[in-house]
Symmetry: C2
Subunit: 318 residues, 2 copies
């Protein structure tokens, strides 16, 4: 199999590249390095079955040319920033919705019909069924990020119906682990390195969230794609548990040996569009035989240890 | 109130313009005349409170300028062609998704927060709950048209959450009545005028569909917008009944006094992505006090009579 991975130098993308190479596949990674990092593909670049193409998903001719000869596309390139969507609404539209349209059109031009898409649990908006199943009630979007990913899902399922595309849409919770470059573990660690005596937490700290370790995420993606033929399947990807933000802060502080005074900005959410409770029903992916190996606590601690070994990531843009 | 109506020279848009003028409002219609028709706004043009701006929703600066001073936007401009989406996938993306983004950005630039949006029952894909409520299970899209409207809905609800936008999203069934310019009544009438002895019907004729008369549609839109403040509400707009395509053919043939031999192309649907059963739950809009005045049969016959009086529409592009 020859796989095309958009966002192949990013956190999840580069991890998937390594996994696919290890599984014996040929891999083409496509990345514009806006948030992807060269050190994440250094190991892959030494591999004879790996090709790196520097390019943007908004450049349809370049994307189409780079995809030639591939059998399956893992579309992971995205603006993954949920929080600041209202500061630049066009970014989610372009980098998520229009980019996904380009990926689909490049596939069509190349006669490729198999796709895996990194969507998000944010498409459920503020869900009111927990754990939230894939066929939850039709949601209202609460973030431009979620709206742009929902649009991508709609395009992919319409291409399934109209052009016979097949594959999987994965609705991720937040993913943790090695090569993690943005999110609460990085934010808290960065702040505590600067001042270990105090920590400001957005909201009241009681937001309940679910997280998944990157290794478990990749296991699920590879398994689901193997099992899916002739349909577009949607899978929630998350652990069977959730934690409070305060739980995660406790683990991080314990690991760092610090006891900061914690100041809460207040309210039941961190920012406009933040979701105070995220907990996805993972019964569908578990029914394929998958089960997560790491708890959320393990995932948080592995992420923290990784950041401690790679402090340069604390200065990263994303 | 000063209302801005995109697609204001189209079937539903021009009918809404006339209604809003009659209700005492100022109205700006914005239309690129790709499918809109000048004769539909001739009466409005004689009105002192009406302004017509010829422009494209893809031209954001022009759209923004035209919208200045308005209080509410009725966004009806769209590529409304469901059936041929796979022949030009970019059309739905541009004219529906990106155009809706432009409308929202133009509103934001002008400080306008009230919006009414013409969405579609097609966003339910192939529903499996009937009648289909607004909070039906999370659907898979089966047409590029539905996908593009779903993307528009997602953007609008995200602007509600992120920027305090308010208003209504209307999920229409097919609308019938005066100024109707495309759909099955026109197709069947055009074909029977050419040859009244035979009629070809896509599918098996047993597709069950719901329709709504334009006057009832406008009543519902105006009422729902009056009642909606500080939230984005989604309303299905359809009658409380559905009919078979064969029923509609029977009424049309009876009215025309013809008895064609009917040839079915076969299968349970008219084309790839056609939906063999559309029947929306209208309890939410009825709870506001609305009730449709015309049956589907009445709507079909009024449409046919209108087309008989206006045969030039049979030659129209759309």
């Amino acid at each position: 199999m020859k796989a095309f991975v958009t966002g192949g130098a990013g956190f999840i993308g580069s991890s998937l590249v390594d996994r696919l190479l290890a599984d014996g596949h040929d891999v083409v990674a496509y990345d514009n390095f806006s948030t992807g990092r060269r050190e994440f593909v250094n190991a892959a670049l030494a591999h004879p079955r790996f090709t790196l193409v520097e390019g943007d998903t908004l450049n349809l001719p370049a994307l189409t040319a780079a995809m030639a000869g591939c059998d399956v596309v893992f579309h992971l390139a995205a603006n993954a920033d949920v929080r600041f969507g209202t500061e630049h609404p066009k970014k989610d539209l372009e980098q998520n919705t229009i980019a996904t349209f380009h990926v689909l059109e490049a596939m069509r031009a190349n006669g490729i019909k198999r796709i895996a898409f990194a969507s998000t649990g944010s498409v459920y908006g503020e869900a009111y069924v927990f754990p939230t199943p894939e066929d939850a009630p039709f949601p209202l979007q609460t973030s431009l990020y979620g709206a742009s990913k929902l649009a991508g899902e709609g395009l992919i399922t319409a291409y399934g119906s109209g052009f016979g595309f097949e594959g999987c849409i994965f609705r991720f919770v937040s993913i943790l682990g090695e090569r993690y470059t943005h999110g609460h573990v990085l934010d808290f660690y960065r702040n505590l390195r600067q001042d270990s005596t105090r920590l400001t937490v957005l909201g009241n700290g009681k937001q309940r969230k679910s997280y998944l370790y990157i290794g478990d995420c990749l296991d699920a993606m590879v398994l689901a794609m193997e099992k899916t033929r002739r349909t577009i399947e949607i899978y929630n990807l998350g652990t069977s548990e959730y934690v409070e933000v305060n739980d995660s802060i406790g683990w991080i502080c314990e690991q760092l040996g610090v006891t900061p005074a914690i100041a809460y900005t207040g309210g039941d959410r961190g920012w406009v569009g933040d979701n105070p409770f995220i907990f996805l029903d993972n019964a569908k992916i578990r029914a394929l035989g998958w089960t997560p190996k790491l708890t959320i606590r393990d995932g948080v601690l592995r992420t923290l240890e990784y950041l401690q070994r790679n402090p340069a990531l604390l200065e990263a843009r994303a």
